[in-house]
Amino acid sequence: MIQETIITIISALFILAGLIFFLGAAMGLLRFPDFYTRMHAAGKGDTLSSLLVVLGFAIYQLHDFTSIQSDWPVILVIFKLLAICTFIMITSPTSTHALMNAGWEDDIEPEVKGKEANDLAKDFPEK
């Protein structure tokens, strides 16, 4: 079936793109110099790559879709997957921010390019 092949390929491409971004996040996590830059890799990489993988699943649901009368549960599954996407979009940046904030409160020293590049240390010298 031509429709089945095309949709399988498209969803595979989405999942593959997600995996590439996961690889980038893992590389960043290993290579970046300090806690804060590593959080960049973990926080951003995870958001888009899990979005792409879940979207790939959602598209794959359509691979044997024939008519809305017989296949409406498939549409519900797609809406559930989209709900997961929304939760990831909201929670992932929030948790990144919470971890960065906790790191600063816990006196983890950020590695900045020069002393004058840290406005937070300038405003709160007692830390």
Binding site: Y36, K44, L51, L76, K80, P93, H97, P110, V112, D119
Partner: protein, 169 residues
């Protein structure tokens, strides 16, 4: 504003909350028969009756305006997804590029946004755009960790203007 109008506004919000809950119920249960739908009606009704004030902060705002905001927020999210893609490409380049491309710095950013939701939206958007993460919010001051010089230069007020436009009174 006379009394009957405010009463109408509050009921409008109740109907809105109830229909959002009911849509979520139908999607997540997936069973469309009399028994499960009536269970949904009862539980959504109880939740709306007890705690419908939790969802929207300012209930004096006309519903039409609220719906317009919802649409604008949808377009904003589309723009944000595009920013997320750009940000991941930027990160991919940095992760596989030389160490010297990094120049981490923490910058201060003053915003004019006032309500909690607007600040939450700005903080999350900063985290999702290329190379920047919100570290700390004190009042209206945002402390932002930028991973490279390009990311730090990109922090102008554009995002703030977009958010302010959505919630313009």
């Amino acid at each position: 504003m006379d009394d009957s109008m405010t009463k109408n506004g509050r009921n409008g919000y109740r109907v809105l909350v109830f229909s959002l809950l009911m849509i979520a119920w139908v999607i997540f249960s997936g069973l469309i028969d009399g028994f499960h739908l009536s269970l949904g009606l009862i539980s959504c009704g109880i939740v709306t009756w007890m705690s419908s004030d939790l969802l929207f902060e300012n209930r004096w705002m006309p519903l039409r305006k609220r719906i317009r905001q919802g649409f604008l927020l949808g377009f904003y999210f589309l723009w944000l997804i595009w920013q997320v893609i750009l940000s991941n490409i930027h990160l991919l380049k940095l992760a596989f590029g030389p160490r010297s491309a990094l120049s981490p710095q923490i910058i201060k950013f003053e915003s004019n946004l006032e309500s909690d939701f607007e600040k939450f939206l700005l903080a999350n958007s900063i985290t999702l755009t290329p190379g920047t993460v919100t570290m700390k919010i004190i009042g209206q001051t945002f402390y932002i960790h930028a991973i490279s010089d390009i990311a730090a230069d990109g922090l102008d007020g554009e995002m703030e203007r977009r958010i302010a436009k959505i919630f313009a009174r």
